[in-house]
């Protein structure tokens, strides 16, 4: 029987009136990337803080790598690594000195700590910058160093809180690659993200958290399947909008929606190309010419908006981000 990498049950944590966590249960096996997805203020960071022994929950239990983090925090700390939202590295020390200090704090001898620091720096492609003070590093380098610091203790479970927020796309892809390598080497990763694309790309399982509750969970594909197949999207000139909506509704029935922000008409397409052909026949018959017409698979964005119930107004915000 394998021990769950993370197992938490009924975790509640309120800050005054703010119900940051409202009974979260989560469990997953070692050797995967678990993506915790949610908007700002959903409770992602609070959950990470509980699981990494930084915060005691008001109620509930939490185990990391089989260790009860509430009863036995010191032992849990030996098995977990944390990279928080801010790069928690010392500006005035060099990259090597930062990691050496962390290695020493994990109980390594000076020699072993140096060796480990060099290994991790190489892995994070920071060897060339190892002897420079961190204040000279770019944002992406700082993130990589912070990630390196969280790996020094060879954690069984690594907690990464929004590991790619606020860094450039190139560095983001670097970090994705590094995370995939870590998992190949047997580390389990729990990461939070606001980027649906990131969860889609990286996570073996995705949990969606909103208002302190885990509202959906599964693989990215499972979650997308819940949307019921593909979507046909089209846009038309403003003058044709009313006629188009009318024609499509009478031909294809309910379920057609219009996103005013993106000026996109969406038609559910459970049978894929069949609905696409029906749409184009209908438009042709009414002599309407779309400015854009395409069929696409549902994205996690669609899933996310559907289950968080944020509706159309939110879809414009999310659409602008990804």
């Amino acid at each position: 029987m394998s021990t769950a990498a993370v197992r938490a049950e009924g975790v509640i944590r309120h800050f005054g009136d703010v119900k940051a966590l409202n009974g979260v249960s989560i469990e997953f096996e070692p050797g995967m990337i678990y993506g915790l997805l949610g908007p700002n203020g959903a409770g992602k960071t609070t959950l990470i803080r509980v699981l990494t022994t930084l915060l005691r929950p008001d109620a509930g239990t939490a185990h990391v790598a089989g260790v009860d983090v509430l009863a036995n925090p010191t032992e849990a700390r030996r098995r977990l690594g944390l990279a928080g939202q801010s790069a928690a590295v010392d500006e005035f020390l060099t990259g090597e000195e930062n990691l050496h200090m962390i290695g020493r704090l994990y109980g390594l001898s000076k020699r072993d700590a140096r060796k480990r620091a060099d290994e991790v720096l190489e892995r994070m492609t920071l060897t060339d910058a190892a002897n420079r003070q961190v204040k000279t590093y770019s944002g992406g380098m700082r993130r990589r160093l912070d990630l390196a610091a969280s790996m020094v203790g060879r954690p069984e479970v690594l907690f990464l809180d929004e590991p790619t927020t606020g860094i450039d796309p190139g560095s983001r892809i670097d970090i994705w690659g590094l995370m995939a390598d870590l998992v190949d080497d047997g580390t389990t990763i729990l990461m939070t993200t606001q980027y649906l694309e990131e969860a889609d790309q990286l996570a073996d399982r995705v949990g969606v958290i909103d208002d302190g509750i885990l509202i959906a969970e599964g693989t990215a594909d499972e979650l997308k399947d819940e949307m019921g197949g593909s979507i046909v999207e089209l846009s038309v000139r403003d003058a044709d909008l009313e006629n188009t909506l009318g024609a499509l509704t009478s031909a294809l029935g309910a379920g057609i929606s219009f996103d005013a922000g993106r000026k996109l008409i969406s038609v559910p397409a459970p049978n894929g190309p069949l609905e696409l052909m029906a749409v184009s026949r209908t438009l042709d018959a009414a002599s309407l010419i779309p400015t854009q017409l395409e069929i696409r698979k549902p994205t996690l964005d669609d899933v996310f908006l559907k289950i968080t119930g944020n509706g159309e107004s939110a879809s414009t915000a999310a659409g602008g981000e990804s």
Partner: protein, 278 residues
Amino acid sequence: MTTSLVHTRGVGLKQATRDTGIIVKRNAMRNVRIPQLVLFATVQPVMFLLLFNYVFGGSIGLALGDAYGGKYINYLLPGMLVQTALFSSIQTAVGLTEDLAAGVIDRFRSLPIARSAVLAGRTLADMTRTLVVMTLLLAVGFLVGFDAPGGLLRTLAGICLCALFGFSMSWVMALVGLVVKTPEAANSAGFLPLFPLMFASSIFVPPETLPSWMKGFASNQPVTVLSDTLRGLILGDEFLATQSRSLSELILYSLFWIGAIIAVFAPLAVRKYRRTVS
């Protein structure tokens, strides 16, 4: 896995000492790499020393008469050393809040290290910096006429005692920093408790002239006790003849205050640290 059976609630004293040493080293490196930390910590007391000596030295010197070689600087310098220890302790609060804001404290708290190590590493490193600053202040004192009537050895002993006092005050400031959480607030909140301690004391003038209601507090509070002990060490018999306490009584009283402050504030600060959420 059988490891869940391993039950290690905390860490032992040996590891706590080791962890503390590592964090002292980190903070000491910061002091070396950020010269402003030592520079401004030195400039301020030097400025005070010179201003007080030249601005008030004349009139206070008249009152002191021929005592201490007729030099106010001899009376003032031991007090300024104590004031330096007080002011430097504020940096403990500021440094801790900076680490909190940068997420460094979160990182430390996620590591399997002694809960007291981060604070002890900070207060001890700050004590080392205070020692450097006091030595520089002493050097400036010599340049402007201080002549250490009690001898160099006793002067150095005084500085060490004063550094210990600074260490005890750093624990007070560690608590202040953990409560207020931001560097700006740490700076202002840190100064507040220091002002009454500084002025209702013998740092600048002998407390004989204070109103009687204030005198009871002034002559027993730690800053006066420390200042007078330093004077006993540094100025010697001429000063001690004016005191109701002997040198050994003064030293014991100083050690009592240092011990009492640490005994009260170190556990409070560690307790607050364990619960602190940045």
